[in-house]
């Protein structure tokens, strides 16, 4: 199991947002996380690379315990790629520089190595010709594909996606999902918070439904969509499908 989460709790002040999450993800597995807004999906994801501190419980990524104070957080983060809803590209850098920055400063790649790798990744996401432009000239879908390439440049063992298509115009969603699907087929371990039920149905190995800071139901996509066990899952799915 490359990701192991044991009894994860997260509080913001007195507000308990995660109330004991247990979850395991195997290497190469694609896990989709669904649930209503405010149920703690983003917080859960952000605990997996310590963008949020963990109140209690354990998170182990590739054998490294994130809650161990001796753990080098920056090293863990290099192995956990994250793709944000708002892309968060660096606007003052070219597309190429967005992708080469961290490999050069953290993995100590030379400029040539980092550039070669970045161009390879840009080809993979279909944006080889955009290397030298600034992000603001790209469409949302293109920005998100650059963001995916940027995360991949660190050779992550796990990729986290937090509603990667929610900020996109409907006609741009497909190109991002296609890239993600290819990534899944290549065997990348992925945890994807999404409202794209079609994607979850087709690509996910497993789906978890979160509500109120707990995992209410966990199953294969076929089971959870056609035969939800819990009333809350049923009512959520009836609203969204």
């Amino acid at each position: 199991m490359i990701v192991q989460v044991f009894d994860l709790h997260k509080k913001f002040g007195h507000l308990e947002v995660l109330k004991g999450i247990n979850c395991q993800v195997a290497e190469g597995e694609v896990l989709c996380v669904i649930g209503p807004s405010g149920s703690g999906k983003s917080t859960f994801l952000r605990c997996l690379n310590l963008l949020e501190s963990i109140t209690s419980g354990k998170v182990i990524i590739d054998g490294v315990d994130l809650t161990d104070p001796k753990t080098d957080i920056n090293k863990v983060r290099r192995q956990v790629g994250m793709v944000f809803q708002q892309f968060n590209l660096f606007p003052h850098m070219t597309v190429l520089r967005n992708i080469t920055l961290a490999p050069m400063t953290e993995l100590k790649l030379s400029k040539e190595e980092a550039t070669e790798k970045a161009l390879r990744l840009l080809s993979k996401v279909g944006l080889r010709d955009k290397a030298d432009v600034y992000p603001h000239t790209l469409s949302g879908g293109q920005m998100q594909r650059v963001a995916i390439a940027r995360a991949l440049a660190m050779n992550p063992k796990v990729m986290l996606f937090d509603e990667p298509t929610s900020a996109l115009d409907p006609e741009l969603v497909g190109e991002v999902l296609t890239v993600m699907k290819e990534l899944a087929q290549e065997g990348m371990t992925m945890i994807v918070v999404t409202h794209e039920m079609g994607f979850a149905r087709e690509v996910a190995d497993r789906v978890i439904f979160m509500d109120g800071g707990v995992i209410v139901e966990e199953n294969t996509p076929a089971e959870i969509f056609s035969n939800p066990k819990h009333e809350r899952t049923r009512s959520f799915l009836s609203k969204i499908l």
Binding site: L51, F84, F90
Partner: protein, 226 residues
């Protein structure tokens, strides 16, 4: 009805070299003062973005004290007040030029710190999260990601501060720095051509500030392109 108007522009023109010799002090005080003011401001501005209560507290006291007192009082305080203490304790004095530069540095530092703080805090949190999620330390995230974007946003207000500080140097006439206004006053004292001389003095300040505005607008336009 008043008497006949009798302006003597020749005297004013003859005094131009004297006035112009004041400009170099005006510029020197402004540029050197702002140079140090920028470092003070950057340090204090950063201090104002930290969660460390002591560091934040010190910076806040500095900023509020300087912004809450007139720069003229600060200059007098330094040149006469602090000098009196230095004289009694160490038998030494800061000269008026040094006092003027320190006054600009300390005064502009307080305003610049607010410019720096505002610019840093205006950068979207997502930028920091993107940097950190790639494995960059908080220092590297600041250096590569936050600061360059924040700095770009600082340029217009810094240019504005440049103009303000340049005008503020005229206050140092009271501590007898030979800057532009002081030179003007000296010429008026001997020629009595107050209207003519102060017209020239005003025009020279205006020329200086307009030049800064002009350069600034060009810089801003160039930055917009990239």
């Amino acid at each position: 009805m008043g008497g006949s108007l009798n302006l003597n522009w020749e005297i004013a023109i003859a005094s131009l070299p004297t006035l112009l010799s004041g400009i170099k002090w005006t510029i020197l005080i402004t540029v050197v003062g702002l140079f140090f003011g920028f470092f003070i401001g950057a340090a204090m501005g950063l201090a104002r973005t930290t969660k460390n209560k002591l560091v934040f507290g010190i910076a806040t006291v500095y900023v509020e004290t300087i912004r809450g007192t007139p720069i003229l009082v600060q200059a007098l305080y330094l040149y006469f007040g602090v000098n009196q203490v230095l004289q009694q304790m160490f038998a030494l004095q800061i000269n008026s030029l040094t006092a003027a530069i320190i006054a600009i540095a300390i005064n502009s530092g307080a305003y610049i710190s607010e410019i720096v703080r505002g610019a840093i805090q205006s950068i979207d949190k997502g930028q920091v999260e993107a940097g950190r999620s790639l494995g960059l330390s908080s220092l590297k995230t600041f250096y590569y990601i936050v600061w360059p974007q924040a700095f770009k946003r600082m340029i217009p207000p810094l240019g504005n501060q440049f103009i303000i500080s340049l005008k503020d140097t005229s206050l140092f006439a009271v501590i007898a720095v030979g800057e532009l206004l002081r030179q003007g006053q000296l010429v008026v004292a001997t020629t009595f051509a107050a209207f003519e001389i102060y017209t020239f003095v005003s025009l020279i300040y205006l020329m200086l500030t307009l030049s800064i505005s002009f350069v600034l607008r060009r810089i801003e336009r160039r930055l917009d392109v990239s």
